[in-house]
Amino acid sequence: MKMDRNVNKTVIRRLANKSMENSRTRNLFTCLTIALSVALVLTFILYVFGSSKEKLRLLEDTAQVSYMDITPEQAEQLNTDGRVKWAAADSKAGSGKVGNNRLLVMYQDETFMERDQIEYTGELPEEDHDIMLPADYIEQLGLSVQPGDTVLLDLGNKKVRKYRVTAIVDTPSKAKNSHKIYVSLPCAMMLKGESVPTVSASVNMKGAMDMDLNTARQSALEIGKAAGIPEDQIKVNDGYFGQAGVSRLTTGSIITLVLVALLILAAAGLVIHNIFYIAVAGKVREYGQMRTLGMTRQQVRTLVSREGMILALKGMPFGILLGGVMGYALVPKGWDTFTFLGAALVCLLLGMVSVGISVRKPAKIAAATSPIEALGYTGYTEKMKESTVLKRRLTPNSLAGINLKRNRKKSILTMSSLVLAGVLLGTIATFIVSYDPGASADNFFPEGEYQLQLTAESGYDNNDTSLEGRVKAYAQLQAEDVMGEGLKAELESIDGVISAKPWKYLTIAANMFGEEQQEGVNGFTEADFALLKEMDYDGPETYDELLHGPGMVVETESNSNFKEHPIKRGDTISVVYYNQTGERIEENVPVLATIKMISWNKKNVEEGRDVRLPLSVMGSTLLMPAKMLDQWTMMNTTYGYEIAVEPEAEKAVGRELDKLFGAEENMYLSSKTETREYLENESFAMKMILYVLAVFLVAFGVINLMNTIMTNLFTRKKELGILQAVGMTKEQIRTMLSRETLSYVGVSAICTLVFGGGLGYGLVRACIQLGLGVSYTFPWIPVLLYIVLLAAMQLIMTQYGVKMLQKETLVERMKETD
């Protein structure tokens, strides 16, 4: 037989399998930890990729180009263009109020109906008096209508006519008193008083997701040209291309994902390392015996490593399954099977690597065991030295403290895992409970729970959605005094309304950066002027000086174009606006003053000042004294009202406001509560994923604690038997074991409270600097739950463990392997 023969993979495999059979607890804990870590990493990957995918999918299906005022034939031609994914035609006939309902009357072709997911029973309207009615509107009218029936209706243009109902719309209307009535194209023309049928086509271009704005514009022009559509009738949706960029995964989000994955794997790796470390420590004599019998170091190392890999392979499929389910549950609309498969593969590889690294050190320790060392091994790994005192206190409590020092590394590893879990829990939980996106709603509603404001929803007469068209439309509404004193009185007469505070705002076209753009001018009061003067104000000292003539106060930080086109006091701005008589005015308006609102906001955040901007100052680049704004335009430029209500009457006032103004075509009602709810819903998925992370980290800590307790008991069976033999009662043993593990819980609790709380506070401060909606709150409930969970776990496990030990007799336990 060759002396150098050392090929024995089969026996190593058999030994590993045998060892696995005898280590069920260790196997369970290890598999559980691996499964949870893989599940968590996979969940994060699927959440990040899925969120992006969801947004991109929504965008993919959105139209990027509008071709306006074209013929139906041109619309048809667009549809057959090879560069077009789909084209849908519509024509807005107009809108009007009928009773308490607002009716939007329009023509939409079949493609548009499909895009809008409108379900109906019957046929699409084709003839000149054909219409489709929504089922809920029919119910409101108290009618009984079937497809094919004829009805007499006013469609909002104050004329009652006979119409043939070709279909009933089954899809519910979005609002209780606002309904869409679909009519045939000839009917729409008739309602608009037009003889030549024109439609607008919304087009989705092929490959638009990969286009930048300029390429998209070029492509849209070419498609339009082929259909004979001139440039001024083509409008590209800029916002689409901005959003497409934002929706894709950025380098930043990939880096964040990698960091989170590493954190999770590190936390899990620590637990697995500890589990194997304790397991190896408990088998030192066994490894020593194997070495005595001729097993090489490499074989011992392979033996331990193999056990780790087997457990990894057993645990990971569960992790993949769980992670897939959680990833789908968080972002169902972003699910992509290929992404899942790819991510699963990555997680499998990461899992194998992580386990390999975690098990490496314990394997090395096992391999380094010498036969002689193993024989004398007692589990007490401290250096051989005399004790400094003759006698320490020997109560169960003090024995617990002495036992913790018996294997410092094990104690430290267990403590580290629990501390890490606790600190991360404290930090994450602080952020979750402090994050209050709804608080931003308070900023948007500085002085009231409701806002009623103008909106240029056109009637039957004006469909001009160009820049000038919008400027004119808003001015017309203000000229008609839609938001006048009469409305104010009406609002304040509602039960529960404390006040209705007006704010002034004028829509204009202004050229500040080389091309005309829609802008708004905020009308600020004398009280607001004091606030403006805090914002690095450069201008006349008093409010009265600003009233000498029309002039703008310009906020020079809110628009990035100011970097290329800076503006200073004394410059002029070319503006277009409409006055009370409907006259179009073009004027060069002087810049009387400049302010820097962004810097001022930042300074407030740093100093911890909570200052709410009034609506009269918020959000505009251009400002003018309110009195001057009215004088300049010769009309009341009130744009909306902030409605403050008594707290107990909030809901009732909301209902009354909705009843009075919900159907008004030129008014838009919003509420602080609804805005808050919307913002909170938006952050729900993000909070969920953070909670999942926190829960998993806690699970890792708890698994580690459970493993430590169980191995504490079973590796010290003999020693505990000796203690019982010399007279330590079961209760004293239970107390001693309990105190040992309570030390872990105690240290973890302190670290969670101090470091977790501290890091959490730091994180919240950082978020405040970034302008996120956070308000520091200590996460008492999650932290206390964690501490209680650990304490309960250690109590239950100790009781259970001592009970398990008693299943063997004292004599059997004392006979344990020497």
């Binding site: 007692t378 051989m384 004790s387 003759l390 006698k391 018996r406 019982q724 007799t809 004599v811």
Partner: protein
Amino acid sequence: MSILKTKGLKKYYGSEPSIVKALDGVDLEVEQGSFAAVVGTSGSGKSTLLHMLGGLDNPTEGSVMVAGRELSEMNDDELTIFRRRQIGFVFQAYNLVPVLNAYENIVLPIELDGNQVDRDYVMEIVRMIGMEKRLKNMPNQMSGGEQQRIAIARALAAKPAILLADEPTGNLDSRTSQDVLGLLKTTGARFGQTIVMITHNEEIAQMADTLIRIEDGKIRESRWQ
């Protein structure tokens, strides 16, 4: 006066047809202050007998009385406390607590009882076993013989009614064995201690006052030497 008495003591393992009768009706009496050696071959039941005498295991049948107390009438905690106060053990494998130094191991049963240590008494024992200079050493810093000396001191420290020694020299060389046996005898005589020692070695058994021979779970011989 008998400090230790058993009557009809039986210990059976398993069930028919493969029942193992480790003890099969043992009647035994040990006088106070005497040194008794229980001798038997491997599997004779001697260790089982020691476990019964020390309340470490429950008999299938029969009674064990130590210092006038019937062990079978005690529950687990009462038995543990009784062992702490009335029974001292010396094991073959020494069985010192590895995290405690020599002195702490000696006084452990007393401390578990919450009692004050009689330091003079303990130091007298320590001097007798010759371990004055090693009291702060940990078990893994001591030889087998030294550990066994400490184990003897621990067994004596609480002034128990009886001291039970299970093959106390089983892991020691002959010279050390002689030392340890001598110590057992000397300390037993000095403190009037009743000692019951298990051994398979006839020569060692000769050192005792009383020889009890056990075979197949039954006492075959009991005589003064």
